[in-house]
């Protein structure tokens, strides 16, 4: 494959960048990659990761990735970049656009397929059901399917009652 930037050399760096939620993939050569600020040869894993992060940060206009820090534990994104470790479970939330790139790099996947904790998981499944019902209701109303909407409304109602009953 030829470098998509200079169109001369063989592309040997695959770059995935997410800018304001838009995913863009580039295949470029080592020379062009080096021109991008933050990239340094040799290509260690850490360098590649840091490079990608540096490259994408100017494009994200409102927030500078360096200065983002976790509200819960105070770990800054820069700390994570340096060590590869997050500070607490909330960091994943605090650093979401940035961290997803990293996860995809490291794991190749971004969606959990394994075990769901029994107690916590119950809430997740129920919540998912509840959100789906509410969306269905909106759709039904928009489509003027009032009979269906009434049905869904009843379902939501009984669901809420069930929840309150459960808490009592």
């Amino acid at each position: 494959m030829i470098c998509e930037n200079c169109g001369k050399n063989e592309a040997n760096v695959h770059l995935t960048q997410i800018i304001n939620g838009q995913k863009q993939e580039l295949n470029i050569c080592e020379n062009c990659a080096r021109d991008i600020e933050g990239f340094q040869s040799p290509f260690s894993f850490q360098n590649i990761l840091s490079g990608i992060m540096d490259y994408m940060s100017p494009a994200v206009q409102t927030v500078k990735s360096y200065e983002v820090s976790c509200k819960n534990c105070g770990t800054s994104y820069n700390d994570f970049k340096k060590t590869g470790f997050l500070g607490c479970s909330e960091c994943y939330e605090s650093f979401t656009p940035y961290i997803n790139t990293v996860i995809k790099r490291v794991q190749g996947n971004t969606l959990h397929a394994g075990k769901i904790p029994q107690k916590l998981g119950k809430g997740i499944i129920e919540r998912r059901k509840f959100t789906n019902l509410k969306e269905d209701l909106k759709k039904a109303i928009a489509n003027e399917e009032f009979e269906k909407a009434a049905q869904i409304r009843d379902e939501i109602k009984s669901y809420k009652e069930g929840e309150e009953g459960g808490e009592a």
Partner: protein, 343 residues
């Protein structure tokens, strides 16, 4: 589950042990590296409260606090594979909960708040996973785990996200090592998302032809898939090792027998042995047992020697602080003793 160091059973000679490790964290509490000693000990307390909820767990398990122990005692736990190097490093705030058979170890304040480890003798990943899952469910009753619908169990390092599961199998691969096939093996294994490490896991060099094969990817696969993939890879490695051993015996019968008997001879009569040499000789003898050449030594004896000859455990056995040279003397003596050699 059976302790791999003591088991007499040998359902598969090439595989020494199967290990399952689950990484879990408590929601919102900063990860151990960002906790003071005091806060870390609070986490230890929380986990103990969640764990010791029945007569059974209080009876069968015991907590060990690293901050209370002498260096050598903690290091000896590491040499027994009961705790990790990272837990040892965090000794001012780390602890672990151990069962009587020393097959289950629940490490607290490692890289993550919880590292639940089950090691079972032989090639038996399912049994180890069942045990780990049971304890995981018990803990979850009382602890608010950090869990995300999309990312699964949240961990301090993104490499452990998702299932938080690291499954690994310890293998004895002398024939593949002799044939210089370990590098190509490493390449092949890496391509299918697995990795090979040495006797003491992450960052350790291979000694005594012992290798640990484990999964690298933890997110996007189910626990069952991870375990099945690893089983498939390990089965292939076993087949290759067996084939290499057959080839060696076909082409170099006398050389191999000589190597094995010499190793046993040295172990039975040497006066000084450093741990590297000892591990290599033990590997040769083990190969001899596994190939049916040596019949009067038990693999069980060799397994316990693997731990006993390590520096900290050796000093605990002899109950004295030893210089390096004294260690070599005592190590040789211990081995002669165990193998019924010159006293």
């Amino acid at each position: 589950m059976k302790n791999w160091l003591r088991t007499e059973e040998n359902n598969n000679d090439i595989v020494l042990s199967s290990r399952i490790r689950l990484a879990r964290n408590i929601d919102k509490i900063p990860f151990p590296d960002r906790l003071s000693d005091e806060k870390g000990k609070e986490v230890v307390n929380m986990v103990e409260k969640a764990f010791y909820t029945s007569a059974h767990t209080s009876e069968a398990y015991k907590s060990k606090y690293l901050w209370e122990n002498e260096d050598n005692i903690n290091k000896s736990y590491f040499e027994k594979h009961l705790i990790s190097a990272k837990l040892l490093n965090n000794h001012s705030k780390s602890a672990f909960i151990l069962d009587k058979d020393e097959t289950v170890s629940l490490m607290i304040n490692e890289e993550d708040h919880l590292r639940l480890q089950c090691i079972n003798a032989g090639f038996s990943l399912e049994e180890a996973y069942e045990m780990a899952e049971e304890l995981d469910n018990l803990l979850e009753e009382k602890l608010a785990y950090a869990f995300d619908e999309k990312l699964g169990y949240l961990a301090a390092c993104p490499t452990n996200l998702g299932t938080g599961l690291r499954a690994s199998v310890m293998l004895h691969l002398p024939a593949l090592s002799i044939n210089n096939e370990m590098n190509s093996m490493l390449n092949a294994v890496t391509q299918v998302g697995m990795t090979i490490r040495g006797l003491f896991g992450e960052g350790s060099k291979s000694e005594g032809d012992l290798y640990q094969v484990s999964n690298q990817i933890t997110l996007g696969l189910t626990e069952e898939e991870i375990i099945n993939n690893l089983k498939a890879v390990v089965s292939q490695i076993i087949t290759k090792e067996e084939w290499s051993r057959d080839q060696l015996m076909k082409n170099y019968k006398y050389e191999i027998e000589d190597k094995i008997y010499r190793a046993l001879g040295i172990l039975k009569s040497a006066v000084l042995l450093n741990s590297k040499e000892a591990l290599n000789l033990i590997s040769n003898v083990r190969m001899g047992i596994e190939m049916g050449i040596i019949k009067d030594v038990k693999t069980e004896t060799l397994n316990s020697l693997l731990v006993e000859i390590q520096p900290a455990t050796l000093q605990l056995i002899t109950s004295s602080k030893l210089s390096e040279k004294d260690r070599d003397i005592n190590r040789a003596k211990l081995i002669r003793n165990r193998l019924g050699g010159n006293v």
